[in-house]
Amino acid sequence: MMKRSVKKAKSGRMLPSFLALILGSGLAFNAQANTSTLKVCAASDELPYSNKQQEGFENELAKILADTMDRELEFVWSDRAAIFLVTEKLLKNQCDVVMGVDKGDPRVATSDPYYKSGYAFIYPADKGLDIENWQSPALKDMSKFAIVPGSPSEVMLREIDKYEGNFNYTMSLIGFKSRRNQYVRYAPDLLISEVVSGKADIAHIWAPEAARYVKSASVPLKMVVSEEIAPTHDGEGVRQQFEQAIAVRSDDKELLKEINTALHKADPKIKAVLKDEGIPLL
């Protein structure tokens, strides 16, 4: 059923009610138009995307964006996970921009995508393994998969009948913390270190999240991006590649226009940062 939820999320069938809930909670839409600064909400501790020391690649991209827009950059930090940035910060007018959302996120207005990447298999390069996709026979002999629950990887793990057997391992990666009413982040550097140490047979995660740790791993790792839509037995398939965009509040049309102009102008600089990070760009 997780699969159904994923697909609902993807097709937006589940989101309208969710969105109604947020909009119904009495939000004031009176963003102060301060054109001299660009207020970007960011997580204070969520590498490789962002941290307070501004070591994340999205911190870097925000700087480029603000420069190009000829505005002063102001980070509005949140100690909570970035998954809460839109609902708890952007929609409450505490900032004007959130970096790195899926293109078309129905809660917000999204910019033109500034890059596209995908989920990737990550495994030791020197083990003679050749895994291209979820149909690869070698996956059948594996028992420890480093994945993030609630991601397309989870749906595919169910598809190849490895989800239940892997459940305890998945929970062990967050110290068996209950996820019932709290969000617990799966740290990408941990997932990669599990592959390096051999505790995990393989990882399958969002490549941009893994890139810098793959690059700096103590053993050579192979990163193979999954196909656009991974086939499933019901014929629907599960999306593995996503375009990333910048979020503004839905009514912030002027700002969106300005951001789109800047993104096109800064594209070479943006791509350079992403390449340097080691992110496979599609």
Partner: protein, 627 residues
């Protein structure tokens, strides 16, 4: 009265040696007969439920309605451990056995001189267990086995890190130790073991962590596993007798442990059982409840999710199920069905004498079944404010739901009663066979439940739930008090002889005596006694810390004592124990019990009471070095 414990036990040993060969051949256990005998005597309290029927009722009547107001502390013992102290001490042949939450220490105290610790057992445990436990690091108590010619008398306990340990009752030395759950896959153990015949029955916990619930029997002599049966999966794993649910085919029979789940979800389907057991030696059947399905979010597991939330009647020798009745098919509220099972013999409405089983469930219904066939005899609301269900159809066994109080994604269901903590949780209640009344300790708690889905980048999302828990409609929601009740329930008529409100949940359950009294502890740290006939409050005493365990009573040297563990904690006090402030933390427990910290703080120990505080130390020379 006084007899040396050593000599008494050795006498039993010789008697057992003669008859044991015969006993084993016929599938009987002489130790079992001894346990039955001990459970009937007022000098002993040899199992958590007092007797195999789990009546929690003592025929002792030295302390009664007329004199209970003279009940005073006799002596006390601090366990040296904070956190929640669930369960109760045991008393066997003049020794009290006291348990603690993690690190699960055990103390043996000589009742003739309680100031001296006879032995103590302090196990080494994987410290990871502490981090994994969901709701404080409680333990629900010890079990006792009286010994035979092959093995000495034993105290059996579970450890938070998943082990079951048998100790020599005389010395406290470890006799055997087995791993019942693997802490490295998130399995912890909080339930009290249950000993019947020569078997130790142990449940499992950790439903949220992918554990498929199971019940296991170990040979008391060796710790060897005899059988293990699961709550979900193929019939061969669930352990169904060939005549399973013969009397009630509409409860479901074959193949449902897999077919009521999508794909292979049964493999991580939960249904763990961390509650209580009862045993009928005549039928040779034992009874318990399996818990909630996993994951908690119902949209992820369509179907009835059998056999979670089920009252089981299983054969003791083989463990095979004779009947299984699922109370809450497809649970949406976390109404884990592991609560106490109390056995009684009563005439039904048609005047027919029946062997019954009564079970106050988390879902707010108190069920009474024929424990031989599994037939539903009655199923009534523990409190009329239970609203997720309109009623239970006795013909089909199905709850008739009120969709208004169902839970669904993106919707805040308001005023759902009971809350996820249930109108009744792990408390051990009591049954008074003279008055034919069950004394129920109740949580009067309701909740708002809001499952939500939060999208994130790259198609990821997080599914969670906000839960707000608060006193039910009969309490004071504004001030966070009035969240408990005590009620006297007749399972045949469905009537309540009386009902009283309490400031907080009556988490630990009740104990009844022939003195016409009902005892219980409260979260804010009182032990109270009420009149069994009308509920009138007759006596109370303020304990050092809140009580989440159940009272027990024993008679020693002609004096009746009442004892109770104190030490606030467990689920209702997670906020207090872990210093949490977010009202929806601990599945709403923090908000529900925010007032508690104004009444009590952590502690841990046992308090023992007698009329006029009579105590071994009335002889002031006892234990003196030099007067």
């Amino acid at each position: 009265m006084r007899e040396m414990h050593h000599s008494r036990w050795s006498k039993i040993g010789t008697a057992l040696a003669v008859s044991s060969a015969l006993g084993l051949m016929s599938g009987m256990s002489v130790a079992n007969d001894k346990l039955v005998e001990l459970s009937k005597s007022n000098e002993n309290w040899v199992m958590q439920g007092k007797d195999f029927s789990g009546t929690h009722y003592s025929t002792a009547k030295q302390i009664n309605k007329d004199n209970v107001k003279k009940l005073r502390p006799s002596w006390s013992f601090s366990t040296g451990v904070l956190n929640g102290h669930e369960g109760a001490p045991l008393v066997v042949d003049g020794t009290m056995f006291i348990h603690t939450p993690f690190p699960n220490n055990t103390f043996a105290i000589d009742l003739d001189e309680p100031g001296v610790i006879k032995w103590e057992h302090k196990p080494k445990q994987d410290p990871a267990a502490r981090a994994v436990a969901c709701c404080d690091v409680v333990n629900r108590g010890l079990a006792y086995w009286p010994g035979d010619d092959k093995a000495p008398a034993m105290i059996v306990k579970s450890l938070l890190d998943g082990h079951v340990v048998a100790l020599n009752a005389e010395t406290g030395e470890e006799y055997w130790k087995v791993e019942n759950g693997d802490i490295s896959v998130g399995q912890t153990e909080t339930a009290a073991p249950f000993v019947a015949k020569d078997l130790v029955i142990q449940g499992s916990s950790g439903a949220e962590l992918g554990v498929r619930g199971y019940v296991t029997a170990y040979d008391i002599h060796t710790g060897e596993m005899v059988w293990r049966w699961y709550a979900t999966g193929p019939d061969a794993d669930v352990g169904l007798d060939k005549d399973f649910n013969k009397h009630n085919p509409h409860y479901g029979q074959k193949g449902l442990g897999t077919s009521t789940w999508e794909d292979n979800a049964w493999k991580i389907g939960g249904g763990t059982n961390w509650g209580w057991y009862a045993y009928d030696p005549d039928l040779d059947m034992f009874y318990y409840g399996s818990g909630n399905p996993a994951p908690w979010n119902e949209t992820m597991r369509p179907g009835d999710n059998k056999w979670t939330m089920t009252i089981w009647g299983r054969d003791l020798e083989t463990g095979l199920a004779k009947f299984g009745y699922q109370k809450t098919p497809h649970d949406e509220w976390d109404y884990a069905g592991v609560n106490v099972m109390m056995l009684s013999e009563q005439k039904d409405k048609n005047g027919k004498m029946r062997k019954l089983l009564t079970h106050p469930d988390r879902n707010g219904i108190v069920y009474t079944l024929d424990r031989e066939t599994g037939d539903l005899v009655s199923a009534n609301k523990m409190d009329d404010t239970a609203n997720w269900v309109k009623k239970v159809d006795l013909e089909t066994g199905l709850p008739i739901r009120d969709p208004e109080y169902g839970t669904r994604m993106g919707h805040r269901s308001r005023d759902v009663c009971p809350s996820a903590m249930g109108f009744h949780n792990q408390g051990f209640d009591s049954y008074d066979p003279k008055r034919e009344l069950f004394y129920l300790g109740i949580n009067h708690l309701c909740m708002d439940w809001e499952p939500f889905m939060l999208p994130y980048r790259a198609g990821q999302f997080f599914v969670g739930a906000n839960v707000w828990t608060y006193p039910g409609p009969k309490g004071d929601r504004q001030n966070g008090i009035g969240s408990g009740q005590v009620k006297a329930y007749n399972a045949i008529t469905g009537d309540f002889a009386w009902e009283k409100m309490e400031k907080f949940s009556v988490w630990g359950g009740t104990m009844a005596t022939e003195g016409g009294l009902v005892f219980y502890g409260t979260l804010d740290g009182f032990i109270k006694a009420r009149d069994a006939d009308n509920g009138k409050l007759l006596w109370k005493f303020k304990l050092p810390s809140g009580a989440i365990g159940h009272p027990m009573t024993y008679t020693h040297e002609g004096t009746q004592y009442v004892a109770i563990n104190y030490g606030v904690g467990g689920w209702p006090a997670v906020g207090l124990v872990f210093d949490l402030n977010d009202p929806s933390a601990g599945l709403g427990a923090v908000g529900a019990f925010k007032e508690l910290a104004k009444n009590t703080q952590m502690g841990g120990g046992v308090m023992v009471f007698a009329l006029d505080g009579k105590s071994p130390y009335d002889d002031v020379s006892l234990g003196e070095y030099g007067m």
